[in-house]
Symmetry: C2
Subunit: 158 residues, 2 copies
């Protein structure tokens, strides 16, 4: 299982790797390791994928981020702007079996995870909205715990 690469505007622990966003995303430019950039674009820096939740506060992205995923000859880029609202859905139980993963587009009422209670009963956690799972976090805890970060198709209204 390969993971996407995560680039953020305000890295807490930057790694090697940069991408430049010009003209509000009309131009996306991955820099070479030794490449210098002097234009007016916004530079995003590579960070560890697992650090994704550090760039979210009160369900909102605190800076622009870009996710890059490569598989089977395809390249997929997802660019999200600061302030984008994400829906967080928690799946908690004696046993939790995630059904979907990062990158999955989900439609309303699709199953996100199956949960088994201590008594062996099974129930499902569904998504209340159409959207894309942008991150799946396993939270270390006595009970099994997964948090799904969903980017809804329609912006969430407060």
């Amino acid at each position: 299982m390969r993971y996407p690469k995560l680039y953020v505007e305000k890295p807490k622990k930057p790694e090697k790797g940069k991408v430049v966003i010009e003209k509000d995303g009309k131009v996306i430019r991955f820099l070479e390791d030794n490449e210098e950039y002097e234009g007016e674009g916004k530079i995003l820096y590579k960070v560890i994928y697992d650090d994704f939740p550090e760039y979210i506060l009160m369900n909102e992205l605190i800076c622009d981020i870009l996710l890059y995923y490569e598989f089977g000859g395809a390249k997929q880029i997802t660019y999200l702007k600061k302030g984008t609202k994400l829906l967080e859905v928690l799946a908690e139980g004696y046993k939790v079996y995630p059904i979907v993963d990062f990158g999955c587009r989900i439609l309303e009422n699709h199953r996100l995870a199956a949960i088994q209670t201590r008594k062996g009963e099974i129930r499902f956690i569904n998504t209340p909205v159409n959207g894309i799972v942008v991150f799946l976090q396993e939270i270390p805890h006595k009970r099994e715990n997964y948090k799904f970060y969903i980017l809804p198709d329609k912006e969430i209204e407060c």
Copy 2:
């Protein structure tokens, strides 16, 4: 429901809109309507999304394509190269109810569609591989007919 925009290298019926791929996808540049391009990049031209199947022959893309999808403040770009192999899964029945849609990442054995027979029996069409649904085609026919074009995570081996 909004649809992605489709750009192809060898358009049969080009529309307004171009995107340039430079350095094997390291730079992606959407051109303005009146913008001229004189670099060495590969130009892809916008075509109608529904024409997607015209750019596939024997399960392979006949040219580079790029899918662009915008939703809820996010921009998603998928760049696929000529020769990329797609898996085509047909769902045919008296009634067919697609469960997943374009852009859905699917994991092995996920349900693609529910099929109802004339006798009212329900069965499911599942995906044999992990991948992404890149196009969902409704085929006009006496019986209901949907074709799912899936980009597998792992390249298909012949």
